[in-house]
């Protein structure tokens, strides 16, 4: 399974395992390049969901009957699988959430309310997705803490020369994206977490764009919290993960209250379970967690190094070729990058361009990519974005380049 021309592994054989890819859109074969928004699901994940609902469905952690035990075992096995995937010290460091957004909101509320006070600083970067910005704006409003931002260099990487100035003792929390969903920048996560630790700040990594694409080892990174979404890595929507270092998770008060998270309840007060149950009020997304477990098995069978190499090769190829097309300009750093490319045309609006591509069966994202402050700063109302995953091929990139060249002629 290797491409003789480039000596890099070809993942093309996995393509047949994604039922949705084998269809035409507007009369043309589907080219799905919107993987940074959500990836498609392999048969193995779809089968895991069907199997759960056909054989094991019951509520977890409470029934004294066989199905409940099976559901609980499958749910907790998924938690253990996630722990292994992230190299967490224990499954109890894994909290299931609805996704990255809910995971970050959990930290901003539960940890933030207990630990932030007026005069404290929350340090973010200028390239954060709204989901790693708005919760901190709200936390700042609640607690009186202030926001501070690590700026970008002209090439679209973090300006690390500013860290000495920005990482003062007032910084209580550093939260940053591992891979920018707009620029494709891969941030130096372990360096940033080490710098945060040196001033006593807690660190949060938004791994939404990295968890399904590369090795993400929480112990190697040295983060205190890390969040990701299942649906961006072959799993269903509505399931995500918050990793929390045990020593911090144990001291963090609960966020939402309800069933599953309590030890004993009286009319006036309650006592709470240990993490992670303390943070999982109500019936969880059991099928989603099991689907995430199946997705992890699927990705691990391919290997994350092979996956990253594949996505990056497509992104670098697309970056170079779109940049060479008349009228187009690519955005974000050259060289080492995540598996996505954002670009603009000198005169065609991204929505017109994305509509044109849709007519040819090519699914791109057009818009502000939930990065409004950065887009405004860079002077783009919006951009188009192509993002890649394991089932995408060089032939599909060829097709995109043809379509973009046609769009240039159509609109000029």
């Amino acid at each position: 399974m290797s491409d003789p021309k480039s000596h890099r592994p070809s993942l093309e054989s996995y393509r047949s395992e994604f039922p949705i890819l084998h269809q035409t859109v507007n009369g043309a074969p589907l080219v799905y390049f919107d993987n940074a928004a959500t990836t498609q699901k392999p048969r193995a994940v779809i089968d895991a969901l069907v199997h759960y609902y056909e054989h094991d469905n019951a509520n977890v952690h409470r029934g004294i009957h066989l199905l409940s035990n099976r559901a609980t075992d499958a749910f907790e096995a998924a938690r253990a699988k996630v722990a292994g995937y992230l190299n967490a010290a224990a499954p109890s460091e894994i909290v299931f959430t609805r996704g990255t957004t809910e995971a970050i909101n959990l930290v901003a509320n539960a940890w933030g309310n207990a630990n932030l006070k007026p005069g404290d600083v929350i340090l973010l970067t200028e390239m954060e997705h709204h989901s790693n910005l708005v919760p901190w704006q709200q936390a700042a409003q609640r607690t009186g803490a202030q926001l501070r931002f690590i700026p970008l260099t002209d090439s679209g990487t973090l300006d690390l020369s500013q860290l000495d100035r920005l990482l003062t003792p007032e910084v209580k929390l550093l939260s940053f994206t591992h891979i920018s969903n707009f620029l494709g920048t891969i941030n130096p996560a372990s360096l940033l977490c080490a710098r945060a630790r040196a001033v006593g700040a807690t660190s949060v990594v938004d791994a939404a764009q990295s968890a399904g694409h590369m090795q993400v080892d929480v112990q190697a990174i040295g983060c205190d919290f890390l969040a990701f979404s299942g649906h961006k890595m072959c799993a269903p929507t509505g399931i995500g993960v918050l990793y929390g270092r045990a020593s911090i998770l144990e001291q963090t008060p609960p966020w939402q209250g309800g069933g599953e998270m309590i030890l004993s309840v009286r009319y006036e007060s309650s006592t709470y379970k240990q993490a992670p149950s303390r943070f999982e009020a109500g019936t969880p997304n059991i099928a989603g967690a099991i689907g995430l477990g199946a997705a992890i098995d699927y990705i691990e069978a391919i290997g994350r190094d092979a996956l990253q190499e594949h996505d990056q090769a497509l992104a670098l190829d697309a970056y170079a070729r779109i940049g060479a097309l008349p009228g187009y300009r690519v955005v974000g750093p050259t060289g080492d990058r995540g598996g996505l490319v954002s670009f603009v045309h000198e005169s065609v609006h991204p929505h017109d361009l994305t509509s044109y591509c849709d007519q040819k069966g090519l699914a791109l994202r057009g818009g502000h990519h939930c990065n409004q402050p950065l887009m405004r700063k860079l002077g783009f109302p919006s951009t188009s974005r192509a993002s890649f995953y394991l089932y995408n091929t060089t032939a599909e990139v060829d097709r995109m380049i043809e379509i973009l060249a046609e769009a240039h002629r159509f609109f000029s």
């Binding site: 929505h351 017109d352 057009g366 818009g367 109302p381 159509f410």
Partner: protein, 158 residues
């Protein structure tokens, strides 16, 4: 190429998007409305000068956006300029019906604006065609009731 797409992006639309008419601001008293479409970043800044009877004496716009939103704004200014309050309201309602309902033939009074009726085949683009018109609708409201300057009243269209 899909015929519906070609029908929507006809030369007239592309021409208006590249060379929008009545692009700019009005000197002197005018109602000023800012509209945006948060999902795509399209913006319109519409200036309308109404006469004492509510007639549309002049209107101009600036903004950034896709071909559909820019062409719709440009064609709208050409169509509404000089119209009475009643005529302007009828055009607003006719255009809204054509792009949002699309169950009937676009009425002749819309002129070149009928070219935008094809947008109904692209549901996610309807808000692009409506952006300028929502702003005009708000301008009419402000002309009759005074400025409504809360953020909530801004004509977001997503």
């Amino acid at each position: 190429m899909n015929a519906d797409f070609e029908e929507l992006y006809q030369q007239v639309i592309l021409d208006h998007s590249k060379r929008p008419r009545n692009f700019g601001t009005l000197e002197g008293p005018a109602v000023h409305v800012d509209g945006d479409n948060p999902s795509c970043g399209d913006e319109i800044h519409l200036h309308v000068r109404f006469g004492t009877e509510g007639q549309v004496e002049d209107l101009r716009f600036t903004g950034v956006g896709c071909a559909i939103s820019q062409a719709s704004a440009s064609l709208m200014t050409l169509k509404l300029k000089g119209k009475s309050k009643q005529e302007a309201r009828e055009l607003l309602e006719a255009f809204t019906d054509v792009v949002t309902l699309g169950e009937h033939e676009a009425p002749k009074m819309l002129g070149d604006l009928r070219l935008l009726s094809g947008v109904r085949k692209f549901p996610q683009r309807v808000k692009c065609a409506m952006l300028a018109w929502r702003a005009f609708e708000q301008a009419m409201q402000e002309a009759s009731t005074g400025p409504v300057s809360t953020e909530k009243s801004a004509p977001h269209c997503s």
